[in-house]
């Protein structure tokens, strides 16, 4: 689907911005809110992992005690209705941790029975699915190949509840393991409770018991220096015990976060077209910085380690491909419910190969794991608009931050019935334009820039709306 988007400065409210180069209060708020969301995601991760450790230790210890005292009681206690409280709890937590059995029906029966009994332990607000999530980062139990317990009971069955297990390195499991447990756990068989230790957790996840302010500071520092491993971990973590911060069933409407210019956190909403543009501009802004560095230092950074480091510091892929054809029709029949208010009927099939030049760079915004679709944003007259925004906006960061969120605006009086939206801070208007309008602008753009530059430089009044950006957004589904 192709969309042509025009961003116009809403001058009546745009005066709210500072002119001294510092971000205005509204932009500050947006950025702060994104940081608060990061703090919350960090809190969610920390508390979920803390609970995971407590549950796991409790489960294993109780199992160890039970097995040490009376191994035969493991099975009998589960199957019998009159089993002790500790035994029931032990089974419940085993299920809650997802230490499920891969043995035959006998052990499956145990799982089902204990799974039913697990309900009272968990809070009523917890979804049933949570109790089935394993400790290895949310992978399904059947995906894990778990070594059975060493304690044989009457030689008929190997208990599924033995804490000593090993998770196989299947691909699916590995994907999830990177979220929660990057390293498969191996536990030595334990004959007494005192022998059970957690060297892996103690070393790798010791930080989760640090003070939250200390963890937040370290987290922010990591982002500032471009070390985004923890950022990816936190933002893609699926909690096991606590409900997720954003509903998973509604991915299109849940925000995704990306690191933007100046290591600021941008909030990306897939159902908001300006959000996708903001993400592309974040990449573009980095390009401008690199170009500035290149000119300032007189060095060719294009092949240097610096460029690689900077590109790596972003949590999304960035490409500037001029050789591909961004103008060819990529309309797909796949319906975009989140962008249903857009109409792309009149915009397909436009071939402007003459515009394939560095003047109109194409940014491929292809989220690694966050975004479902592949987005290609062509920034028309990138450098010219960038220069124009320098005159009209305090900073590129503010412009990008404003675009990161928008809401539909029912503009009245227009005949075209085009889609209108406003940024959340009411500073910019986003309008979907038609192919003919787009073509017209491409033709008269040099005159437009000349006129607006002259107006801004001389202070003369102009009736022209201040267009601060024209973008072509191509959305292709099914490539996520």
């Amino acid at each position: 689907m192709n969309f042509y988007i025009c961003v116009v400065l809403q001058s009546s409210v745009g005066k709210a911005t500072d002119q001294n180069g510092t971000p205005s209060s509204s932009v500050h708020e947006l950025l702060n809110i994104n940081w608060y969301y990061q703090d919350l995601l960090l809190e969610l991760y920390i508390w979920d992992r803390r609970l995971h450790q407590l549950f796991y230790c409790k489960s294993v210890q109780l199992e160890s005690v039970a097995n040490y005292k009376n191994p035969a009681d493991t099975v009998d206690g589960i199957c019998g209705e009159n089993s002790g409280t500790d035994k029931k709890i032990s089974d419940k937590t085993t299920i809650a941790l997802g230490v499920a059995s891969t043995t035959e029906s006998a052990s499956n029966n145990l799982d089902h029975q204990s799974g039913d009994a697990a309900a009272p332990l968990l809070d009523e607000s917890q979804e049933a699915g949570h109790s089935e999530l394993p400790c290895n980062g949310g992978s399904k139990a059947e995906d894990s190949s778990i070594a059975h317990g060493q304690i044989k009971v009457d030689g008929t069955i190997e208990t599924a509840n033995d804490p000593c297990f090993e998770i196989s390195n299947d691909k699916e499991v590995q994907i999830n393991d990177t979220v929660a447990d990057p390293i498969p756990m191996k536990q030595e068989p334990c004959s007494t409770p005192q022998q059970f230790k957690y060297p892996y957790w103690d070393e790798r996840e010791r930080w989760i018991w640090n003070s939250i302010s200390e963890s937040q500071l370290a987290y922010r520092n990591d982002i500032q220096i471009g070390y985004l491993e923890k950022f990816e971990l936190i933002n893609n973590y699926l909690p096991h015990y606590l409900p997720p911060l954003f509903e998973q069933h509604d991915e299109a409407y849940s925000p995704q976060f990306a690191v933007g210019p100046g290591s600021n956190i941008l909030c990306i909403m897939e159902d908001e077209i300006s959000s996708i543009i903001a993400r592309a501009l974040a990449i573009s802004d980095e390009r401008h910085h690199l170009i500035d560095l290149k000119f300032e230092n007189g060095m060719d950074y294009s092949k240097g380690e610096h460029v690689k480091a900077m590109e790596k510091s972003y949590s999304f892929l960035s490409e500037s491909s001029f050789s591909s054809s961004p103008w060819s029709s990529t309309d797909s029949e796949a319906s975009l419910s989140s962008l249903s208010s857009f109409s792309s009927d009149d915009f397909s099939g436009y071939d402007s190969s003459s515009l394939l030049s560095p003047m109109h760079p194409e940014m491929t915004v292809n989220g690694k794991v966050t975004l479902k679709g592949k987005y290609s944003v062509t920034v028309v007259y990138d450098n010219q608009f960038f220069a124009l925004r320098k005159k009209c906006c305090p900073s590129e960061l503010e412009y990008i931050t404003s675009l990161s969120r928008c809401k539909k605006w029912n503009a009245q009086g227009g005949k075209s019935k085009a889609y209108f939206a406003k940024t959340m801070d009411d500073r910019f208007i986003i309008k979907q334009i038609k192919k003919t309008e787009f073509e017209s602008f491409i033709k008269f753009a040099p005159d437009y820039f000349k006129h607006v530059y002259h107006s801004l430089d001389t202070g003369s009044q102009t009736c022209l709306a201040k267009i601060l950006g024209i973008y072509q957004v191509v959305i292709s589904r099914g490539q996520a």
Partner: protein, 105 residues
Amino acid sequence: MYGSSLDCFVFITYFHYCTMVPDAYAPSFKVHAKGMVLFSGVARFLQNLKNEHPDAIKLAINCGLALPVKDFTELEELLIKEKAQFEVGTCILLSSVFVLFFIVD
């Protein structure tokens, strides 16, 4: 639920906020609400764990975990402290909303 006068005030303020405050301020309220839901969920979970297994912390320490707390009381205090830290931050954001409410009202 809204028995005390303070709760009534908060509820009414929230109602007015939803209807009168510009959309630009809605995100700050949302992040605050999500934080409260998160901390409440953790508190409930800890309470359940405490009821079912009062010695869970000691078991974890016996397992070799280096915990900064010795029992559930300290763990709950840790949660309250972290919740308070979050509230302090978001209340600064929300304060602008409530000031606006009083001006509008």
